[in-house]
Symmetry: C2
Subunit: 454 residues, 2 copies
């Protein structure tokens, strides 16, 4: 037999996995909708001009490019092997690429549809993204993102609502999480305070690696871009105030940079967000984490990351405030805030915690046994009535031995089997077999439909 | 402002379109599940070795190929421009392609997971496919297919159930359809009868174009592959028996080729299918259409196509029985039957018929007006209580003039607005504005939640 396979880093999903995944998507979608967010979808393929340069040099390399259709070499002069530059050639023979995230396509969508959109625009989007990353545990080349954003509103009530949404999603999914929050403007205030205002972006990128590469390597990077030992020392003194509570940290920072306009703005924003969420019934732990920086340069205010409390895994959601995302497409001054849920990691967390609901394994509630041409007629009638009553059911299609048919129901985790033989037809009853307990029960057809119907 | 655009033949979907599309997907999915089918998903990217050669030469050209990542030219010798063959080069620099349909990936899935699957395997799959086709009205380069198949069972009860599913889907969607049915074995019987047994595949492909290119062109094609005028005449005499009812046609054909083994087998199969569905409460018209042939060679028994009764458009679903689909991947003898629903054409049909349900335009039921810092606190509390009661609602995030806020609700088709000002807080009431009638009503907060809650 031919060896069948799929590309590295991609996955097939079996019915069992699908039901569990849909449980996650449905839970997230329900919270989004309860908060009045509206769904959009964008194409898997975008023009490369839309995608290139938006994710840094590293991101450009991870884009999947689609070869132009037809004679893609038409009008293109090829150099000989030795001198042809792959990235130059690829830009000649590929015009389209696969979506890398949902944020840039969303920005493109907003600009392109700006005349139809009523701002503030509250949208959610649950779609695949593709990255030519090296596959490893928990990292795939095709995966889902679930994004929710408000765009066209500066109000900090949006930040508070995003936190509320995160809290509600994970409460629904029964995952204990810590929601880490910081503000880019506070980090800018610290940079200013230690005399490194100009190096803020580099500082943010270096800090973002804190968890992954450790403090020593971060320091090395900072020294390379011009930080002195004194500046590092001062910075770590500030970042190290981990033993204070959130409000204590705000007070401490207030005393550190009373004159930094941007730093004070960041503190004020964060205070306001804390004020809002104090009135919400937030169940998750909220942690003001000064070391949180998020690598992406487009964040300008609040930044957020979510960690599962009981499972060792990277962040399972992240987001923040961006003041000028649509600026990359020439539409200035549209501020937004949002968060992205990583469905694949959330799946792994729920699996490890063994918290998928039991009924998230079952599709079909009833299988009807098939004894032959006469019996199946009655079974088909009963099946139709069950469906009319909203019950998922199926008739076994072949006249196989009953053992084989029950085995099919068992392996497919169908919880009930209906047996209709000659006698049952005569008596207008069915024999109901509970596949979990093994119990059998004779029931009048009408009663059976009434018991099982929705 | 930069001109933003998406690739030709692809589409963005706005919230309004999404809700209507989800109405279609949910209706189809619900019927699939009621019949005990289980969802699977496969990756957007498949190895080109899986896809190539499965859709004919024309199909190969329509595959989207994905450029290999990294230095895709590494180890490849380029000829000069003049002599390089695009299809040879593309096979060197592309290993993966985008899914062209759901049938071949399903066959690949079955072979790859054969040890986990319990046969008969009843699966459904609702995913995008991509084709580098010339875009035109109703034809896109990215579109959805909704496939349902039973694989690993020869029983004709499966054909009957597929027809039942088609009928239920379109009944649910309120589209009157004609379900056309034929059997490849009957067509083979006719070919045998007129002495053209060997040319059966060519005959089937030519007949498939009947609707598109007309009888004269079909005849031309058949003459080119060796049909004589007498044979054509004889064939059209048989195909032309359109004025008989389904059973009458079966009887007529029985008298035409009493000795054709394959023809008789086809008649017997179709008779059996008609027998089954006679007991179902089928609402659609079932038409035994001898000119129906479906171009794809993998069909071996029943073939099906669905036409909308009241809208001029191509077929909106199609499918049939294939005896050896997994054979292309070396797993022989697994027979299946299924149908594919074309969601995009179904969308167009429902739009033309103006039959989308009214509530398929609304996401958010209530918007709460925002008057300022004090009032929004109370509004947030009411919003939380509404959500707890299962009502989709949102607080307007800015302190804009009420006219602007109502305008937002109006444009977003939010049917109810809640106004909470100073007085309402004092009295513990809300002012409810019906955005359709314009009526306003004062309600105690508790009563309001009780009325609106699910």
């Amino acid at each position: 037999m031919e060896k069948t396979s799929i590309p590295k880093g991609t996955r097939d999903f079996t019915p069992e996995e699908m039901v569990r995944r849909n449980y996650i998507f449905n839970s997230i979608r329900e919270v989004f909708q309860l908060h009045g967010f509206r769904p959009i979808e964008t194409p898997a393929m975008e023009n490369l001009s839309t995608l290139l340069g938006k994710y840094g040099q590293e991101g450009d390399k991870l884009l999947y490019r689609i070869l132009n259709s037809g004679n893609f070499l038409d009008g293109i002069e090829l150099d000989t092997n030795s001198s042809e530059n792959p990235s130059v050639l690829s830009s000649k023979i590929c015009e389209k690429g696969l979506r890398y995230d949902l944020t840039v396509p969303f920005a493109r969508f907003v600009v392109q549809h700006r005349n139809e959109i009523v701002f503030p625009f509250r949208r959610y989007q649950i779609q695949h993204v593709w990255r030519a990353d090296r596959p490893q545990k928990g990292r795939y080349r095709e995966f889902y993102q679930c994004d929710v954003d408000v765009i066209g509103s500066d109000s900090l009530i949006n930040e508070a609502e995003i936190i509320q949404i995160i809290d509600e999603v994970f409460h629904k999914l029964e995952i204990d999480v810590t929601i880490k929050i910081n503000n880019r403007k506070i980090l800018a205030g610290i940079a200013e305070h230690i005399g490194m205002k100009d190096k803020f972006n580099d500082l943010a990128i270096a800090l973002d690696k804190y968890d992954k590469i450790g403090i020593d390597k971060v320091n090395e990077e900072l020294i390379q871009i011009g930080f002195s030992q004194d500046q590092l020392h001062e910075m770590h003194n500030i970042l190290g105030i981990i033993h204070n509570d959130n409000i204590g940290k705000l007070k401490f920072l207030d005393s550190i940079f009373p004159d930094s306009v941007i730093g004070q703005k960041g503190l004020e924003e964060l205070r306001k967000v804390f004020d809002y969420i104090e009135n919400f019934n937030i169940k998750s732990k909220i942690e003001f984490d000064l070391t949180l920086s998020r690598g992406l340069n487009y964040y300008t205010g609040a930044i957020l990351e979510v960690k599962a409390a009981d499972v060792e895994i990277g962040s399972i959601s992240g987001g923040g405030r961006y003041d000028n995302l649509t600026g990359i497409f020439g539409m200035e001054g549209v501020s937004g805030v949002g968060v992205s849920f990583g469905a694949d990691r959330i799946y792994d967390v729920i699996m490890q915690l063994n918290r998928f609901p039991k009924d998230a394994t079952v599709h079909t509630k009833v299988m009807l046994v098939n004894f032959g041409a006469i019996e199946e007629k009655q079974s088909l009638l009963v099946a139709s009535r069950l469906r009319d009553a909203g019950v998922n059911c199926e008739l076994y299609p072949e006249y196989h031995k009953i053992k084989k048919q029950l085995d099919y129901a068992d392996k497919n985790k169908i919880p009930f089997v209906v047996i209709i033989g000659e006698n049952e037809i005569k008596e207008n009853v069915i024999l109901l077999k509970d596949m979990v307990s093994g119990n059998e029960q004779k029931l009048a057809v009408n009663d059976f439909i009434r018991f099982f119907g929705k």
